[in-house]
Amino acid sequence: MKTAVIVFPGSNCDRDMAVALERVTGRAPAMVWHRDTALPNGTDFIALPGGFSYGDYLRSGAMAARSPILRSVADAAARGVPVLGVCNGFQVLTEAGLLPGALMRNAGLNFVCRTVPLTVENSQSLFTAGYSAGEAIDIPVAHHDGNYFADAETLERIEGEGRVAFRYAAPVNGSARAIAGVLNDEGNVLGMMPHPERAIDAAHGGTDGLRLFEAALGVLV
């Protein structure tokens, strides 16, 4: 099991993500710098962490989505390698076109930083197989641009295809249909605003994030 965390200038949850991956796999991930052009050989799980890549210049995730390493990430995703984008990582994945939609400024204009209740919508994906459909879980969010937007046709399609992985169970940021996490059409790319890596230890105040990593990494062991 070889995991990788992509690190951009301004990433700030890369080490938290590394702790979560090492907790589950027993092996520290490769920390891959944005300017690198290739992933380590045999990488079989990629995480794009939270933070403020490139200072959120232009749009959140916009610059990171055009960085050299993203071509390798896109190639790996196309080969079926699981890719998890959390918070800024979700913004990067939408900007890169690996996930549909866009993440806009929170409807309330405030930075929201608190643990929020989520509903697991799809428990069939490789990331969410450790949960049951409809299960209520609590995961922290910390973002300013988490207001998910997609046109009506796209929303209908992703809902119809079961690609909404998580939904907010209470209002957080104005997201269309309260969408908190979205899968790509193949189900191997997940973007989500909540931070599962911040809920893997009782000392975090909750461990509801742990099963995401166990499921996503366990199926590969």
Binding site: L58, R59, A62, R66, T94, E95, P100, G101, A102, M104, R105, N106, A107, G108, L109, N147, F149, A150, D151, G174
Partner: protein, 76 residues
Amino acid sequence: MKVQVYVTLKPGVLDPQGKAIHHALEGLGFSGVSDVRAGRFIELDVADDVSDADLDAMCAKLLANTVIENYRIERA
């Protein structure tokens, strides 16, 4: 040559920042403003042989997110 790019939210996309600006204008006592939409202005200094197609590609690939934004290009 200078090229101006105006990036604006598509009609129908909610603009919370524009709403907040509108609210602040009203708070300052300005009346008669029915709506405010905030956008982004980008000025490029480009060689004369940069084509319209190149400029369009720059906008579509990076300067605007066409999921939510429209763009308009003006050559000075």
